[in-house]
């Protein structure tokens, strides 16, 4: 499950790609929130900007193929745990045509 509620939430910082920020009025590039996993962080973003989860995750559910999420410089999944103070970077992968 992406949102592991058994773990305590910790304050983390999430950085969003500009192409995602542009889709949500009032959205900013750098967001501080509390989450125990990447999935929980995306849930928190969705609560703040409804619909954002659908832009980052497929209904499977998993992170979209052409979206990369990095935690401490390493590719992460929805289940990846977040330590207090973790930096989560959501980036657009090479795609398009």
């Amino acid at each position: 499950m992406p949102n592991d509620r058994s773990s305590p939430s910790a304050p983390v910082v999430v950085t969003l790609p500009l192409a995602l920020v542009r889709l949500f009025p009032g959205c900013v590039r750098r967001v501080e929130l509390s989450a125990a996993t990447v999935g929980a962080a995306i849930d928190a973003l969705d609560a703040r900007w409804p619909g954002m989860r659908d832009r980052v995750c497929e209904s499977t559910p998993r992170i979209r193929r052409h979206i990369n999420v990095f935690v401490a410089g390493k590719r992460a999944s929805l289940e990846t745990r977040l330590a207090p103070g973790a930096e989560v970077m959501i980036m657009t992968a090479i795609s398009g045509g």
Partner: protein, 360 residues
């Protein structure tokens, strides 16, 4: 009241709007909109003046975009526009159709969704994908897409959809149950003896004659057809056309016997206009005879195609006719197709053309 004609253009790199007055002689291009997402279908709701756009972005998935101010500002939503967890996710919205108080969306992989709140949230019409034929639906060249949505003008329970390559399906109970309606349409890609199946045909576009809900026309990968009984039986009307292959079909706003096609040279021959000379083909008698309309269209070195949703008419008199090319050119006729002019070029590849007529 003066009228304003908007040409709504979906392209591989965003939506565009081309504004013209009722005289349809001068045009002004606006866009790109929708954050340059590929927009498979941009439509206007004539009742409300709202513009909707269906598309899908390689990074961010599928959504329906909406503008309530003729394109000045846009929002997007995909709330509820998803299959169940574990199923293959939706890649893109392929078609959008306002129908009464509802809005329908066809998606890839093929499925049908409905919104009853103006596109803010969506509900899966699961009956279509529950049809027993579904495991045998196979994708056409553009994917397994639900691309044509034809609502009955007075019976909200009736809807026709077209899926490449599953064929035409009809519901009479609001989407709970569906019936394939492909009898008489060919599948040249199947062996002789099996080439008239119950379903599996590669329908390219499906349209309804104005004021005559039982009369449907379809451009198919394999021929051109007319039905007089809501699709239960189809008859070929391809005699007189330069090719059996093409994508779009557009009906006249008032005359059920007038239809516009843009035949291409063949599915394995490049899929551009025959002899590299552009022509729209028009029938005035329901497909019994056809005439090429070429005045103002390029008659040499035209190596473009026109995709399934990239031709439309408007509701003025005389009717305007419009089409957009795979090479990003947009052509318009203000005299029912008799003469044409290029109103925009150098756009991204054009995926859809629709019109919206509003009071100026």
């Amino acid at each position: 009241m003066a009228k304003q004609v908007l040409i709504l253009v979906g392209t591989k790199k965003g939506a565009f709007i081309v504004d013209g007055g009722a005289e349809r002689h001068s045009w002004r291009l606006r866009g790109p909109f929708c954050e340059t997402w590929p927009m498979n279908h941009v439509v206007g709701d004539p009742a409300s003046g709202t513009i909707y756009g269906g598309g899908g972005n390689a990074w961010f998935g599928a959504a329906v975009w909406k503008s309530s101010d003729l394109g000045a500002t846009w929002t997007h939503s995909s709330e509820g526009l998803a299959y169940a967890a574990g199923e293959e996710p939706i890649k893109a919205v392929w078609s959008v159709a306002p129908a009464g108080r509802s809005l329908y969306a066809g998606v890839e992989p093929a499925g049908l969704f409905r919104s009853d709140d103006g596109g803010r949230s969506w509900r899966h019409i699961a009956g279509l994908r529950n049809h027993p034929s579904r495991p045998k639906w196979t994708p056409g060249g553009g994917g397994l897409i639900l691309h044509s949505l034809v609502a009955h003008p007075s019976d909200a329970r009736q809807l026709w959809v077209a899926i490449s390559a599953a064929g035409v399906f009809h519901t009479a109970d609001g989407g709970e149950t569906w019936e394939p309606r492909n009898r008489g349409t060919r599948a040249d890609f199947l062996p002789a003896g099996e080439n008239y199946p119950e379903y599996g045909q590669c329908v390219h576009s499906l349209v309804m004659a104005p004021g005559k809900p039982d009369r449907l026309y379809q451009q198919n990968h394999c021929g051109m057809y007319r039905s007089e009984d809501g699709g239960r039986r189809w008859d070929s009307i391809e005699a007189g056309l330069p090719s059996t292959f093409g994508f779009p079909a557009a009906v006249h706003p008032r005359d059920p016997a007038t239809l516009y096609l843009l035949p291409l040279n063949g599915d394995t021959a490049g899929r551009y206009v025959p002899d590299a000379k552009a022509a729209v083909w028009r029938t005035r008698d329901g497909g019994e005879s056809w005439a090429a309309l070429r005045r103002g269209l390029p008659q040499e070195n035209a190596f473009f195609g026109v995709l399934r949703q990239a031709m439309a008419t408007d509701r003025l008199a005389p009717a305007g006719v419009y089409f957009g090319t795979s090479t990003g050119a947009l052509f318009a006729s203000a005299d029912e197709g008799d003469s044409w002019s290029c109103v925009a070029q150098h756009l991204p590849a054009i995926l859809s053309v629709e019109t919206l007529v509003v009071e100026a």
